[in-house]
């Protein structure tokens, strides 16, 4: 894949330094490695960089600690909130459990699992057709999938809620079922595009050899093409999961009553509940955060590659 990687292999320090700069290069080869010419040597710039890094860490990562500390603190509000819990308790989780947070989490997991599976299957099939076959109207189909990307989902939310209540032709009411959330997630233009790009790069020789052996289309996809697509499937999987977990409007409009909510949407129920404090809301937030955190930490390489690649092609 021609995707730019976040940790690219850089040429090592040049071994034929010219004339005057020899000394500088031998001592600080790394200074040509970054746009700002950061230096590893302890210096004023070095100290400044460490300071700035600490600030970045405090601004972007430290707030997450308050979610955790607040969730384990008996009754957090204002000053009792800190980066570390005072006297930790699981009470908040117990109360959140009584308000059905585990059911919401269950909804979320079913939707995320089912949605991701459907999305991967549907997008892989479509990408296989677009990448490994030539047929009439190919460009048009490609454009259609591209359009699903450009179509803001917020914009179709209102008519979509009507469609979910009465699916055309079959007249099914998907509202209040997990299908109401899962099915609209199936065709994701980004996955189709990315997998298509990736599959195009697979040499045709492999396919031709298999075809001569009389391998059918489905087996070809399953046994020949897919094993070669593992990195791209990884990217599609991670980005798909994060995208599905982030869904807010869709579960909201697909729900018939609040018990159908996903855990992220259900946070607002906990918040507006006058009987529970912010500790319980934070316990809910922790529960909603952990699955995406696990996926991110395990597969961040794929994720970062995908965002960079998708954006450069977008």
């Amino acid at each position: 894949m021609s995707a730019p990687v976040i940790d690219p292999v850089r040429p090592t320090a040049p071994d034929t330094p010219a004339g005057r700069s020899t000394k500088a290069q031998r001592t600080t080869p790394a200074r040509f490695d970054t746009a700002l010419g950061w230096n590893d040597k302890p210096s004023l710039a070095w100290a400044l960089r460490i300071l700035l890094c600490l600030i970045a860490l405090a601004v972007f990562a430290a707030p997450f600690l308050t979610i955790f500390s607040g969730a384990f603190t008996p009754n957090p509000s204002g000053s009792s909130l800190s980066f570390l819990p005072h006297d930790s308790t699981l009470l908040n989780f117990k109360v959140a459990g009584e308000r059905g947070i585990w059911d919401y989490l269950g909804n979320s997991l079913v939707i995320a699992g089912g949605g991701l599976l459907l999305q991967l299957v549907v997008c892989t099939l479509a990408a296989y057709a677009l990448a490994r076959h030539r047929f009439r109207g190919q460009a048009l189909i490609m454009m259609l999938f591209m359009m699903t990307l450009m179509l803001p989902e917020e914009v179709i939310a209102i008519p979509l809620s009507l469609v979910l209540g009465d699916v055309p032709v079959v007249h099914l009411d998907l509202k209040g079922t997990v299908w109401g959330v899962i099915l609209p997630l199936g065709a994701w233009g980004f996955s189709v595009m990315m997998l298509t790009e990736f599959m195009r790069d697979i040499p045709t020789e492999i396919e031709e050899a298999a075809r001569l052996d009389g391998v059918g289309e489905l087996r070809m996809l399953w046994q020949v093409v897919l094993p070669l697509c593992k990195p791209a499937l990884g990217v599609a999987g991670v980005l798909g999961f994060i995208m599905i977990w982030d869904q807010y409007l869709l579960p909201l409009i697909a729900a018939k009553d609040p018990t159908d909510y996903t855990v992220t949407v259900a946070l607002s129920i906990l918040r507006t509940d006058p009987e529970v404090g912010s500790g319980v809301v934070l316990a809910g937030a922790v529960i909603a955060l952990i699955p995406s955190l696990i996926v991110y930490l395990l597969l961040q390489r794929s994720l970062v590659t995908g965002i960079a690649a998708g954006a450069t092609k977008g």
């Binding site: 010419g37 590893d40 000053s79 997008c123 189909i141 914009v155 939310a157 609209p184 065709a187 991110y296």
Partner: protein
């Protein structure tokens, strides 16, 4: 690709006969079906409904452009345009500048930098609803709130971040920047990685300043990445919904109401499906227009 295909004649014949020609469509069918039913049909339905007075059980009534004139004349929608533009532009520019700064700061191969990048990227992978709860907490309005206690140390009074109509929009913007800056950082880091290292070296030999180096080597090289970030951010800015919905819900007193939260309220709270559809179609047209325009400009920029 064409050269390796054996017996092109056979393939052509099969193509005409249809057996081979059907295969790709079978693979495409599930995706096309789902896109049709859950994307394009709702879009068409939305456009259609925007010309009707939608009355459940009574039957819809054609009213032409009335929904559009009603929505566009509604002062709350007019206010929402302003909020959307301020929020969209401020959030986009802020997130790009901060993302660029982060990319410059955290560029490098050291292991510690990789860990730092992992940590800084967290906001971008966290569900918006969770981020909203987190920021509600940070914006806690009493003087012992997280941000307010920091301000207290500086001798500043407690700020009503989300309850003051003059400030709430900017509080929302700050959260948006916080979410999107790390995301932009990743794209820009990929751009920075593509800069030719020998240029930096040559520049060092010519004794150019750091500023010149950034201005004449780095910036031109990452211009494509920058353009992408800008495009994505602009379009995202216009359709902003979840961030506002989970943080302020459009309040206080409508001071953070953006176009989509307004449309949502109209459609789901007031049950004015026609009006909400018209508002959505307006946004769709603006978004599409902007996308086409930006793509055109980008193509022209690349061609030059």
């Amino acid at each position: 690709m064409t050269a390796t295909v054996p017996a092109p004649a056979a393939r052509r014949v099969f193509g005409v006969l249809g057996k081979k020609a059907v295969v790709p469509w079978l693979f495409l069918a599930p995706g096309l079906l789902l896109a049709l039913v859950f994307k394009f049909w709702p879009m068409a339905k939305g456009i259609w409904l925007s010309f009707f007075d939608v009355r459940p059980f009574l039957g819809d009534q054609w009213i032409g452009l009335d929904n559009y004139t009603r929505v566009l004349a509604d002062h709350r929608f007019q206010d929402a345009i302003g909020h959307t533009l301020v929020l969209g532009l401020g959030q986009s520019l802020g997130a790009i500048l901060l993302g660029f700064a982060l990319a410059l700061l955290l560029e490098g191969q050291a292991r510690s930098l990789k860990i730092l990048r992992t940590a800084v990227f967290l906001p971008a992978v966290t569900a918006t609803a969770v981020v909203g709860e987190l920021w509600r907490l940070m914006y806690y309005p009493t003087s012992d709130g997280l941000l307010n206690s920091g301000l207290h140390l500086l001798g500043l009074g407690p700020v009503q971040f989300l309850d003051n109509p003059d400030i709430a929009l900017y509080s929302t913007m700050a959260m948006g920047i916080w979410i999107w800056a790390p995301y932009n950082m990743v794209i820009l880091l990929a751009g920075l990685a593509g800069v030719d290292r020998s240029l930096y070296e040559a520049a060092a030999m010519d004794g150019v300043s750091l500023w010149q180096r950034l201005r004449y080597i780095t910036l031109p090289a990452i211009r494509p990445a920058l353009m992408i970030v800008l495009t994505l951010a602009t379009i995202r800015g216009l359709r902003v919904f979840t961030e506002v919905y989970v943080l302020t819900g459009g309040g206080p007193a409508g001071s953070t109401d953006v176009w989509m939260t307004r449309a949502y309220t109209l459609g789901f709270t007031r049950n004015d499906i026609g009006g909400a559809s018209a508002a959505s179609v307006v946004l769709l047209c603006v978004t599409l227009l902007l996308t086409v325009m930006v793509n055109y400009l980008r193509k022209r920029g690349e061609a030059r």
